[in-house]
Each structure stands twice: as structure tokens, then as C-alpha cells.
């Protein structure tokens, strides 16, 4: 039980990261690769937050004055993840815009066929 206790979130986070990387490595369709990218980002964010967790802690917001600061969860990773999620969205939006225009130019999204720039 205690093993699960410790490594559930890490297992989930790095599972997502490696599945995301696997999609990007294996798949040929550009949209599928971008989906892999989004899963990779979610995985990294999950890992960041699980690093900052305190066992049986509380959310770092003083809704009542008498909350004990020492039991509060680490706020810094949450600040980082807020920024990281929005950066992930920015990259995804840019990727999909380029994918759409690429489809208009090439007529296909299969990366094995989009190989004019090589050597």
C-alpha cells in the first residue's frame, strides 16, 4: 500500500510523458503528433504539481484566518504550472495553425510525404 501511496502520482505523470513521447516518435500524422505533444505537456504539468505535494496538507489559500501555514501545500509549482499550461496552449494553437496551412499547401498531413526539405 505504501508503495502505491508514494508513487501513484509519479507513475501517472511519467506514464503520460512517455506515452506522449511515444506518440510523437511512432505516429506519422501531424495532428496525432500534436495530440502527443498535448499529452506530454499535461504529463509534465502533473509531475510538477506532484513534486510540490505535502502528505495530508491543505490548499495554500487562507480562506479562514486560523489555517496552519506549515500544513499548506507548496505554492511555487502551482504558479509554474499555471504558466506552463498557458504556454502549452500557445504552442498547440501555433502548431495547429501551421498544420492547417500545411494541409492547404500539401493536401496531406502524413509526415512521410511532407519531406521536400531534406539533405
Amino acid at each position: 500500500m505504501s508503495f502505491l501511496e508514494d508513487y501513484a502520482y509519479y507513475f501517472g505523470a511519467f506514464g503520460l510523458i512517455f506515452i506522449g513521447l511515444l506518440i510523437m516518435l511512432v505516429k506519422h500524422n501531424l495532428i496525432k503528433v500534436i495530440i502527443g505533444l498535448s499529452i506530454l505537456d499535461t504529463g509534465v504539468n502533473l509531475f510538477l504539481i506532484s513534486v510540490g505535494y505535502i502528505s495530508n496538507g491543505t490548499a495554500p489559500i487562507f480562506c479562514r484566518d486560523d489555517m496552519d501555514p506549515s500544513r499548506m501545500v507548496d505554492p511555487v509549482p502551482q504558479a509554474l504550472v499555471l504558466t506552463a499550461i498557458v504556454i502549452g496552449v500557445a504552442v498547440l494553437a501555433m502548431a495547429l495553425a501551421i498544420a492547417v496551412r500545411l494541409y492547404q499547401r500539401y493536401g496531406t498531413l502524413d509526415l512521410r510525404k511532407i519531406k521536400e526539405l531534406r539533405w
Partner: protein
């Protein structure tokens, strides 16, 4: 103060020529000539002075310095002398062609940077001027455009880049070892240098100087460069620029290291001077026979430059005072007659509308007598007939070889001279003698401004031939600067116990022989003009038109010799260039265009890093 002024005038002059060229071509030509003349006069005034001064500004913590002594004066005089003649010559020669401002700027810039290398007091400024000389030469070699010129240019710049990179590594390793690049201080430090460092420095420096001096393995750029360059520049290129390699060798062997140190490097028979001597010998023989078959007038002269380079190295590497004097004097002589021959070849090319192929020339003796005289005297100097300057220096070199007991080297030199005689005769015969082809009917005489340099050089050939004492006194001072005891000589020749050279007896002998021939010719009656058909051709039908026997002049000889004289270094370098291009073509396949593999490279790189850390953890 004079030397800094010299450099400023040289470099400033080249820039100013380009600017004036934009205004008017006459102004530019006048200024270029004035500039060259002024430089010659200034170098004249510097004769005999010997000093070393550091300049106010430096480069990355290294102080530049200027150095003037007999050795650098000797080379500076040849540079500026030939430069003046070439500038004078190129007024008329380059008249019709385009991009003249660019041509004059680069010509004067090359002269200035050569002057810089010779006058430089420390190895870094020597290197800077050296590199400026090499890339400006590259810009001038392929001036005429066209496939072969570009190929020649690329070949030259790559080989000179190899040379300068080797020299850079050598200079920097000297700097890191001794903290100074000044030639004087280095000469002192080098005596205590470790053998390994000295060996590295010697090898790297000699690679550079062998390449620029076009000795045997690295000669391949010279024939192409000369054949494609414009004649005035090929005169400078072969007379002076190629000899920077020898200046470098003198600097390395005698000034910095000193000959005693070089012997310490020797391992049994393989000493530095031996290797150099054998390279010189091979160059002489190889170039002589390669020159035989060339059909292009300039290519013959190019191969002869390669050959003569071998003589100089042979003389220098014997390292006795006589050999040294022979080698140095040969630089001066070669400089004179090769420039003369290139001027003649250029004049012919200029007048006959660019024809350089020997088979289609002939009988120009009547049309261009000045060119004929120049060509004949140049070939005499090249071959080394008595009364010409070539004879004296070759005599010195042969004598030192025999005195030192180096029979094989002497034999190689003789074989080389024999080859030189053959292709010298081919040069004269195909161009001037024989029958005049009809398309050359209306060839005009050599223009005056081109005739002047030719005549000046002809006079010099004879002057140094008949009165060797004058140049030899200069050569002696160069020898003493480098630590050799001077030859005892008088104006007319060199008295030595094992056979003196006395030009007076020679003159007497020749005068008597000449009188006898004249007498014989006078008494036995007139020669009669014979019609072309009144001839015996061993039964073959006598051709009505022009006798074409100058075609393939030495073909039978060459068929015997050619298997041994194949130019395999050239083939080797082309093969290497081809292999790098193929390798480039192969390595770029890594960028296959498929994104999946690019992401795979990133992940593999990361996995490799982690794997190495997990298993072997070197860091």
C-alpha cells in the same frame, strides 16, 4: 621611420589607385607607376641598414615589430623591382580588358603584402601579411573568368589555406611555449627548445613553405595558376611570390633555428637538409620532363618555375657558403629571366590575339624581333649558358654539390638542365623559328611600353652574367647575415683553388670562337636561299603548305618517359577533394526530412547521456 613609410605608401597606394581609377584611367596608370617607382627608390635608400623596431600598436597582447636586414632587403628589392616592371608592362597589356581598377588595386595590394611579409619583425605580422597575400592572389588568379581559371583559383586558395593553417598552429605553439613571437627573441629561445616542439615547428613551417614554393609534392597549383593568370601577374607570381617560401625557409633554417640546431634534429641520414635536397632534386627532374610535352607557352614557363625552384632549394640545403650563395643568387637570376620570358610570352599572346598554343605559332622572328631577342636571352639564362646570369649561379650550385660530394644530387641537377635545354629550345623554336602561319601575317611589333621591361631585363641578364661580382657582393652580405663566411670574389668572377670562374677568359674564348666562325663563313662563300620543295624528306611527299613538324615536338621521347612522370600528386589531391564531396553527400543523408527521426535523434541523445551515466558514469 622609413620602413613604416614604405608600408604605408605601398598599402595606401593600392587603395588610392582604386579610388583614382574611378576618376580616370590615365590618372590611375600614372599614379600606379609613380607609386611603384617611389617604392623602388625608397628601398634603394634603405640598402645596408640593419635595425629592428617594435611598432606602437599590437594585436591581442602581441606587439608588432619591423625588421630590416640584408636578407629582407634582398627580397624586398626583387619584389619592388619586378613589381615596377610588371606595372609598366601591364599598361599596354591590359588596355582592352575590363575591371582594370580592380586589377591594379589587387596587383599593388599583393606587392604591398609581400613587402609586409619580408619586412615583418615578428611571426604574427608575418602571418597576417602572408594571409593577406594569399587571398588577394586568389582574387587575381581567376581574374579572367572561365572554367579553368576558377578551378586554378580554388586549387590555389585551398592549398595556401592548408599552408597558412599549418603555419598558424606552429606560430601559436611557439607563442605558448616562449610567450613571444619576435624573431630575434625566438632565435635565442629556440636553442633551449625541446626537441618535440622544434620538430613540430619545423615540420609545420616547412609544409607551408614547400606549398608556396611549389616543390614536388605540393606543386600542383602552380601550372594551373600561371596558365590562367594574366601575364604581368604570372611574372610576379613566379618570379617573386613563389620565392616567399624560400624567404620563409631562410628565416626558419638560419635565423630562428640555426643550422647546428637542425643537425641535432637529424636521425641518421634523414636530416632536414637532406630531405629538402632530395625534394629539390625530384622537383628539378620531374618538372623538366613534365614541361617537355606542354603545348601552351605559359604552361612550359610555369613548369620551368617549378623546376628552377628545385635548384634553389638544392643550393640552399647544401649549407656551405658557396651553396648558399649559389641558391640565393639563383633566386635573383630566376626572378629576372622568368619575368623576361613571361613578358615575352605575354607580348606574343597580346599581339597574336591570345594564341598560346605552340603548334599554331611560328616564324615570328621577322615580325617581333624584340620579343625574339628577349625570348632567346631568357632561354639562355634559363639554360645557364656562359655570359648569362643563370650560368654563374648554376656553376656555384654544381661546384658546391661536387665539393660536398653529393653525386646523385649533382646528377639530378644535370639531368634537369638537360631537360631545360630541350624545352627551352622547343619554346624558342615553335614560337620564333619555322614558317610563319598565314593568319599571323599582319602581326605588329611589340609595343614600346612592353618592350622597355623586356629590354631592361635582357640587359640585367647579361650584366649579371658578365660582371657577377656586383650581385654576388650583395649575396655575400646576405650570407654573412645568416652566419656563413663570405666568398672571396672579384668583379669578374670567383677565384677558388678547385677551378676559378673568370668571365674574362670566357669572353676571350667566345670572342676567338666567334671570329673563327665569322672567318669560315666569310671565306667559304655565300649561303643560298633554297626553295621549300628542294628538300629531302626521306621519300615522303614534301607538303606544299607549311611544314608542320613542330607539332608534337618531343612526342617519341615523351612516350618513353611519360609512365615515370605521371603527375600523381595532382591526381591524389583531386581524389581527396572528390572523396570529401562524396562524404559530404553521404553525411547530409542524416537529415532525412522525416520529423519522426528528428525527434528520435533528440530522445536517443538524451537516452545515450543517461545510459552512459548509469553504466560508466565518467563524469
Amino acid at each position: 621611420m622609413m620602413v613604416e613609410l614604405l608600408l604605408i605608401v605601398a598599402f595606401g597606394g593600392s587603395l588610392l589607385t582604386y579610388v583614382l581609377g574611378k576618376l580616370s584611367s590615365r590618372l590611375r596608370n600614372g599614379f600606379a607607376l609613380l607609386n611603384a617607382l617611389a617604392l623602388v627608390i625608397m628601398i634603394g635608400m634603405l640598402y645596408g641598414q640593419e635595425f629592428e623596431r617594435s611598432l606602437p600598436f599590437g594585436f591581442l597582447g602581441i606587439q608588432f615589430s619591423i625588421r630590416m636586414n640584408m636578407l629582407s632587403w634582398f627580397f624586398a628589392a626583387t619584389i619592388l623591382g619586378i613589381g615596377l616592371l610588371a606595372v609598366l608592362y601591364s599598361f599596354r597589356y591590359m588596355k582592352g580588358k575590363e575591371r582594370l581598377d580592380y586589377y591594379y588595386f589587387t596587383l599593388l595590394f599583393i606587392n604591398a603584402s609581400m613587402l609586409g611579409t619580408v619586412v615583418a619583425g615578428d611571426l604574427l605580422s608575418f602571418f597576417i601579411f602572408w594571409e593577406m597575400m594569399s587571398w588577394s592572389t586568389y582574387l587575381l588568379i581567376s581574374l579572367r573568368g572561365g572554367g579553368k581559371a576558377i578551378f586554378a583559383g580554388i586549387k590555389y586558395i585551398i592549398m595556401s589555406l592548408v599552408g597558412s593553417l599549418a603555419m598558424l598552429v606552429a606560430i601559436v605553439s611557439l607563442y605558448t611555449a616562449f610567450g613571444t613571437v619576435d624573431i630575434g627573441e625566438l632565435a635565442v629561445h629556440m636553442q633551449s627548445a625541446s626537441l618535440g616542439l622544434a620538430l613540430l615547428v619545423v615540420i609545420l613551417f616547412s609544409i607551408t613553405f614547400v606549398i608556396i614554393n611549389a616543390l614536388w609534392p605540393f606543386h600542383t597549383w602552380l601550372p594551373d595558376a600561371h596558365a590562367e593568370a594574366v601575364s604581368p601577374f604570372s611574372a610576379i607570381l613566379s618570379a617573386v611570390l613563389v620565392r616567399k617560401g624560400l624567404y620563409g625557409l631562410f628565416l626558419l633554417m638560419y635565423v630562428i633555428l640555426g643550422f647546428s640546431f637542425l643537425d641535432r634534429l637529424a636521425v641518421g641520414a634523414i636530416s632536414f637538409s637532406n630531405v629538402l635536397a632530395w625534394i629539390g632534386a625530384i622537383t628539378i627532374v620531374f618538372a623538366a620532363f613534365r614541361a617537355l610535352l606542354q603545348n601552351d607557352s605559359k604552361r612550359i614557363l610555369a613548369w620551368s618555375t617549378v623546376g628552377q625552384g628545385g635548384y634553389m632549394v638544392l643550393g640552399v640545403s647544401v649549407a656551405t657558403s658557396m651553396g648558399m650563395a649559389g641558391g640565393t643568387f639563383h633566386i635573383l637570376n630566376h626572378c629576372i629571366y622568368i619575368a623576361l620570358l613571361f613578358f615575352v610570352a605575354g607580348a606574343i599572346e597580346h599581339r597574336t590575339g591570345g594564341i598560346r598554343d605552340l603548334d599554331s605559332l611560328g616564324g615570328l622572328i621577322k615580325k617581333m624581333p624584340v620579343a625574339f631577342v628577349g625570348g632567346l636571352v631568357g632561354i639562355f639564362g634559363l639554360i645557364g649558358l656562359p655570359l648569362t646570369n643563370g650560368f654563374v649561379s648554376k656553376w656555384l650550385i654544381y661546384k658546391s654539390l661536387i665539393l660536398e660530394g653529393r653525386p646523385f644530387l649533382a646528377f639530378a641537377a644535370f639531368l634537369g638542365t638537360w631537360g631545360t635545354i630541350l624545352y627551352g629550345y622547343k619554346f624558342i623554336h615553335n614560337i620564333f623559328l619555322g614558317q610563319l602561319p598565314d593568319e599571323l601575317r599582319d602581326v605588329k611589333r611589340v609595343p614600346f611600353t612592353m618592350a622597355v621591361p623586356i629590354m631592361v631585363l635582357v640587359v640585367l641578364v647579361f650584366l649579371f652574367g658578365v660582371l657577377p661580382g656586383i650581385p654576388l657582393s650583395v649575396v655575400n652580405q646576405v650570407g654573412t647575415y645568416m652566419g656563413f663566411e663570405p666568398l672571396d670574389l672579384n668583379v669578374w668572377g670567383i677565384p677558388s683553388e678547385s677551378g676559378t670562374l673568370n668571365v674574362v677568359n670566357l669572353l676571350a674564348a667566345i670572342a676567338v670562337a666567334g671570329f673563327l666562325v665569322w672567318l669560315l663563313f666569310k671565306t667559304l662563300g655565300r649561303s643560298t636561299r633554297v626553295d621549300q620543295s628542294d628538300n629531302y624528306a626521306a621519300g615522303a611527299a614534301i607538303p606544299r603548305g607549311r611544314y608542320g613538324f613542330t607539332r608534337e615536338f618531343y612526342a617519341p621521347l615523351y612516350r618513353i618517359v611519360s609512365p615515370y612522370v605521371k603527375d600523381f600528386p595532382d591526381a591524389l589531391f583531386l581524389w581527396i577533394a572528390d572523396r570529401t564531396k562524396a562524404l559530404g553527400g553521404m553525411t547530409r543523408k542524416i537529415y532525412s526530412g522525416y520529423v519522426g527521426s528528428y525527434v528520435m535523434y533528440i530522445v536517443l541523445f538524451l537516452a545515450a547521456l543517461v545510459f552512459v551515466q548509469l553504466t560508466w558514469s565518467p563524469w
